[in-house]
Symmetry: C2
Subunit: 402 residues, 2 copies
Amino acid sequence: MHCQFICTQCGRRYSFDEPKLRCDGCGEPLEAIYKSLKPEVEGQGSLLRKFRGFYPFGDVSEAMSLGEGRTPLIQSSVAGGQLGIDALYFKDETQNPTWSFKDRGTLCGVQYAISLGYKRIGTVSTGNMAASVAAYGARAGLSTFILVSAGIPAEKVKPIAVYGPHLIRVKGHYHELYDESLRVGEGYGIYFINSDAPFRVEGSKTIAFEICEQMHFHVPDYVVIPVSSGGNFRGILKGFEEFKSVGLIDDIPKLVAVQAEGCPPIAEAFEERREKVRRVRNPKTIARAIENPYPPSGNQVLRKLGENGGLALTVSDGEILDAQRLMAREGVFGQPAACAPLAATKRLISKGYLKPEDRIVLIITGAGLKIPSALDHLDVPIISTAVDGLMDAIGKVVEGSS
Amino acid sequence: MHCQFICTQCGRRYSFDEPKLRCDGCGEPLEAIYKSLKPEVEGQGSLLRKFRGFYPFGDVSEAMSLGEGRTPLIQSSVAGGQLGIDALYFKDETQNPTWSFKDRGTLCGVQYAISLGYKRIGTVSTGNMAASVAAYGARAGLSTFILVSAGIPAEKVKPIAVYGPHLIRVKGHYHELYDESLRVGEGYGIYFINSDAPFRVEGSKTIAFEICEQMHFHVPDYVVIPVSSGGNFRGILKGFEEFKSVGLIDDIPKLVAVQAEGCPPIAEAFEERREKVRRVRNPKTIARAIENPYPPSGNQVLRKLGENGGLALTVSDGEILDAQRLMAREGVFGQPAACAPLAATKRLISKGYLKPEDRIVLIITGAGLKIPSALDHLDVPIISTAVDGLMDAIGKVVEGSS
């Protein structure tokens, strides 16, 4: 299928075999566009095979796949009940090969890199994306470069290192590192599948595709997404837009971009009706996966929010941790960033922006096990007893709660 | 569908509404049996709905489901290549709601408990099963009791506690605790979904069902399973037996039970051609999920291995950690117990028991993130640089590896 890249701001075009992440002219992110999409969504196999009508790869090899995607859409009972919303759903991206949504975009990015003949890939990340790219790079037999910032917490290093990438700890700001990675990539033939690389965004489309299928093509009113670079947000929206363009759905949900109070570049610009994000000084939030002080797709998210009629807002770390516990009380344990959508929904219900009759999907981006330290403040009421005291101990609990 | 329980040793029968875990007569585990199975394996929905012809629950509510099962079968390239096996597969159970195979059996056990009118459930576990039962208990709105042993490592407590169960730390041996839990359960109306409860075993059947589907009903020659209590082993075998009984498959694979050298009650009895397992003194292995010194279904596993023509063997902690790294080098990161099957396959290939042309499925029981400390000994070659030294640093790697 014919595919090009187009600048999301100025419309300048680039050919499929120019592996760029942003426009030479205006520096804004690029997006893949197709001459024609084929509304085929049937069949077995990996996401790129199942949705091949929406990708330029033809009949891909299944050898690159680790079984990503096809994650459940779980109807909330506890949180939904508490908020008075009947149709509240968790799209549980924690059930992916490396336990976050990143695997969809990584598969897609690796496929693109391979189709261009690359033998080396990389990424700049200290979190979900690092593990994901390391895993898929290993799977594809590519030489894989993971650039992490010097301040990476120890608990995060080994779950990346285990996949065997070249792990490089770089002193410097994230944005310098991001820019330098592209320069190094050109120099050494390394395709950097960074957070808003066009084909990473193409991978995130499948979240929207699956939501459509799971809701029998009757789309929700709102989709609530934790937003960092903006790549996942862009991909999910693009997925709905493409399904609408081929007639599989009639409407596009409103999108809600959630950021942390401690790092809100997009939400702040949205609030102040600015067209451009500004760099956040001293970002700080427990939701590390959305702690991006200067999101490369930030301006594009703002443009899209305008078209879409959605909104951006912030939630506090306290609200995020409350939401984490609330979600776990119905069996879904997300990492802090993954719990921001529920925190945001709570806010928006209390403000009257969301209504009890709305159908709302929350994107649960990554697994709670990713950041064990986020549970440090969890108060654990634990009962201790010897075996012969067990009957009594349980008796007290049972009587106390009845 | 008519369902009874039968003692796996003496054949004594119990009715469906007697929530027993073992035979009153001989103390051996019970198993669910059906008058007739219906070979229907089509359709959407949770495992209990999809495979409803193999369960006594009829058309179940989907509200209990967290999207368990439907895990990928991934063909190995790196390990398979290294061992010279073409058809080596990972059944990746890490992509479950609480990131282990336990979720299948927990769903099934909860469904059984609810169908008998229980309002309280529990389990005895410090690992995967504790998190799983806590999650599904929360999901189902049941009062949930998790009994953990006094020596539980701190890193394991909070990922269980987050789901909000009654967490009870009990001083005493595991087997005492197991027995006492059943007594307490009777006393207070708590259904303990322990490791080899009949309906937990029924949940594990779906692993076999899915393997059959994923291999187009042409079953593998071998399925290699980490074995602790024996419940999962029994369930997988039962799944193949049931599919054969209804004519969906023609053969039953040989099963390989893998244990750790530091805790090998079943493998030792198998080796010594004993009919009964003996309690292991001072069990010690990095593969904590299979560190069960006196497995309640151990004798039944021995009986079944005899009928099936399979075998049991041990692997060392060193072999397990090697296998963990090898699997991660193709994108699959399992917890130590989950890597024992690959370690065993390596041994069995070198002994000539397994042949390069065999079709082999390894059960990857739980996620690597479960036990971060298992990576403590991982040697991480990490390169450090400032941003302006990145080009040089990567240049050295590229030149060094080409």
